[in-house]
């Protein structure tokens, strides 16, 4: 009977689309599509010169538009018929993603030491590979792919219904799967990372989707506000609801890299080309945490007594496992991956707080952590020997004697990760822990401080290796180029400024969080 009345509905009205509020995303996607066209029509040698400025200008234009939206219009509005929420947190997160993506793009565009393969289709070790290497080109498709991924990252935390969120998740992930497999050296590792990331990523997004289906069955809609309204009505199947929340959380926690769902992270971070690792470790984490914040604050806020115990457990496990396993690592990228897992745990304590201060603290933490991460991975790309990047920690011995400036900056980034005062890491950690303690999660804060102390141990160990041991005779050298140095300098500046003078940024995050999320 129902279906008959639905089918008889007279006509479909086109939904209103507020183009000016969606413009940052549209600009990024537009630039990506122009990039695809450039791949088709521009001659191969000229492509790099077209693609890099195009991508950079696209991201910068989108960032300017986001700033303008944030400071002039102050929208608190669900655009596109309620599918995309344009509010304070969205704009803050999108702005952060765009800046971090620009920094990562500087690393991606580095030509002095190519990180990307010349021809992804050529077999490793084959003649075709040597030929394409000799031609000196690179696969310029990385630029449009990066832009598509960034566009998806901007949509993911802005989505106001679970379907848009799923589409954003896939638009973000699919290009990243490909980018992971495009390393120039150690190609087998890179391809293996791509396969692992792809299979596990697809697995987790299937969980996300099935959770969405169950919540649709419970609430009759995938709109976050409708789910929240259905919760307060009560009635409906509790089983559908709880199973839906659990499956959806699996999908979100996988992207954050929280502990039962973390094993992909070290493998993928190690195998992927380092500029892409920088992009994933900063922007993807920001996007995923942003989406988790929106889902848990908007849709499931009234259900928090049900999901909080689970999130407590996940946060504690994530902080401890990340910090403890990192101690045993010998590869620098793998160690940073475990450190990123531990930081995911700190971010989860901000989500658990479910308060305005928790939201603003998490937003600040995301920005602070993102800059430090891009800076740290930028330095990883600079330390090189004859086989490419010197990944093994032992090869970093004595770096402080050979190039004190770079080693000093890296040491500073590590101290920021550890959360030493006067770095951005300290301000961020202090803010989330304070919010969590105010929200009654004192045990969580104690575990967080403990895990920070454990983490400080392996960060300091790297510093000791760099400064207090003798360099090997064939130790790697530091290759400095303008673009990478710019990325390092910007990351360093942000880390120092957010540590010494955090107030403006804290105010900005606080302002973005004042009205929480639109519904």
């Amino acid at each position: 009977m129902n279906s008959v009345s639905v089918l008889a509905a007279p006509e479909i009205h086109a939904p209103p689309v507020e183009f000016s509020q969606l413009a940052p995303m549209l600009i990024v996607f537009g630039a990506a599509i122009v990039g695809v066209l450039a791949e088709a029509f521009v001659a191969r040698p000229a492509r790099y010169a077209v693609q890099f400025p195009l991508a950079l200008v696209g991201l910068a234009a989108a960032f300017c538009w986001t700033l303008w939206l944030g400071f002039s219009e102050k929208p608190q509005h669900a655009a596109a018929d309620g599918a995309v929420a344009v509010d304070g947190p969205t704009l803050f997160i999108q702005g952060t993603i765009l800046v971090l993506a620009m920094l990562s793009l500087l690393l991606i565009a580095e030509r002095a030491q190519d990180a990307f393969t010349a021809q992804a289709a050529a077999l490793p070790g084959s003649e075709a590979e040597q030929e394409s290497m000799a031609d000196g080109g690179i696969q310029t498709e990385i630029f449009p792919l990066t832009l598509f991924a960034v566009g998806g990252m901007m949509l993911f935390p802005a989505a106001n219904d679970l379907l848009t969120m799923f589409v954003g998740l896939e638009v973000m992930s699919l290009p990243l799967y490909l980018l992971c497999g495009l390393a120039r050296r150690r190609r087998l590792l890179s391809q293996e990372a791509a396969v692992k990331y792809f299979l596990l990523g697809a697995f987790s997004s299937a969980f996300f989707l099935y959770g969405t289906a169950l919540l649709y069955g419970y609430a009759g809609s995938v709109r976050l506000s409708a789910i929240s309204a259905a919760l307060s009505r009560s009635g409906g199947s509790e089983t559908l609801l709880l199973a839906g929340v659990a499956l959806l959380s699996v999908g979100l926690l996988f992207k954050i890299g929280a502990v039962p769902f973390h094993p992909w992270k070290p493998d993928v971070y190690q195998g992927a080309p380092t500029p892409i690792t920088a992009l994933m470790a900063s922007c993807t984490v920001v996007a995923a945490v942003g989406a988790a914040l929106r889902v848990f604050y908007v849709a499931f806020e009234t259900l928090r007594w049900d999901w909080r115990p689970m999130m407590w457990g996940v946060a504690i496990l994530t902080m401890m496992v990340g910090a403890i396993v990192a101690i045993t690592q010998t590869d620098i990228k793998r160690m940073l991956a475990y450190s990123s897992i531990a930081h995911g745990g700190f971010l989860l304590t901000g989500i658990v707080a479910t308060s305005e201060s928790g939201l603003s603290a998490t937003l600040f933490y995301l920005a602070a952590y993102g800059f430090t991460t891009v800076g740290a991975f930028a330095i990883v790309t600079m330390v090189r020997d004859t086989t490419g990047e010197a990944g093994h920690l032992g090869r970093w011995a004595g770096l402080g004697r050979r190039s004190p400036v770079i080693a000093g900056i890296f040491a500073f980034f590590l101290l920021a990760f550890a959360g030493i005062p006067l770095t951005s890491g300290f301000t961020g950690k202090f803010a989330v822990f304070q919010a969590a303690a105010d929200g009654g999660a004192v045990p969580l804060v104690i575990v967080g401080v403990l895990s920070s102390a454990i983490a400080a141990f392996f960060y300091v160990r790297v510093i000791v290796v760099m400064f207090f041991s003798e360099p090997e005779p064939d130790a790697p050298s530091v290759v400095t180029t303008a673009t990478t140095a710019t990325a390092v300098a910007l990351g360093l500046t942000a880390t120092v400024v957010l540590g010494v003078l955090p107030q403006p940024m804290l105010d900005l995050a606080g302002q973005a969080a004042t009205q929480l999320f639109v519904r």
């Binding site: 490793p124 087998l188 293996e192 791509a194 069955g217």
Partner: protein, 96 residues
């Protein structure tokens, strides 16, 4: 409701398949089975709640799944060409 139960069974078979099977292609097919189980759930919930949202969502999911197949098969094919094997157990260079 029976269709929802069927979709849950399909989803479980898919999830178990991902965990148990060793061939990357089969693992990927199991993921597709999970996505289609979600589609079945969407369509049957749409029927139960009497709005069309679920049916429209199913179309979106099909498009996304198709895009995922393109990317996934490309990646699996690349690793098969360089290793002559598509077993997920053989890909073991990255660990600890």
């Amino acid at each position: 409701m029976n269709y929802v139960i069927l979709s849950a069974i399909l989803f479980t078979i898919g999830a178990l398949g991902v965990l148990i099977r060793r061939n990357a292609i089969v693992v990927f097919m199991c993921v597709e089975l999970m996505l289609n189980a979600a589609n079945l759930a969407f369509v049957s919930f749409a029927r139960m709640s009497g709005n069309l949202d679920g049916q429209v969502i199913a179309f979106f999911v099909m498009v996304v799944a198709a895009a995922e197949v393109v990317v996934g098969l490309a990646i699996i094919m690349t690793i098969f060409r360089s290793r002559r094997s598509s077993s997920v157990d053989d890909a073991n260079l990255l660990k600890y």
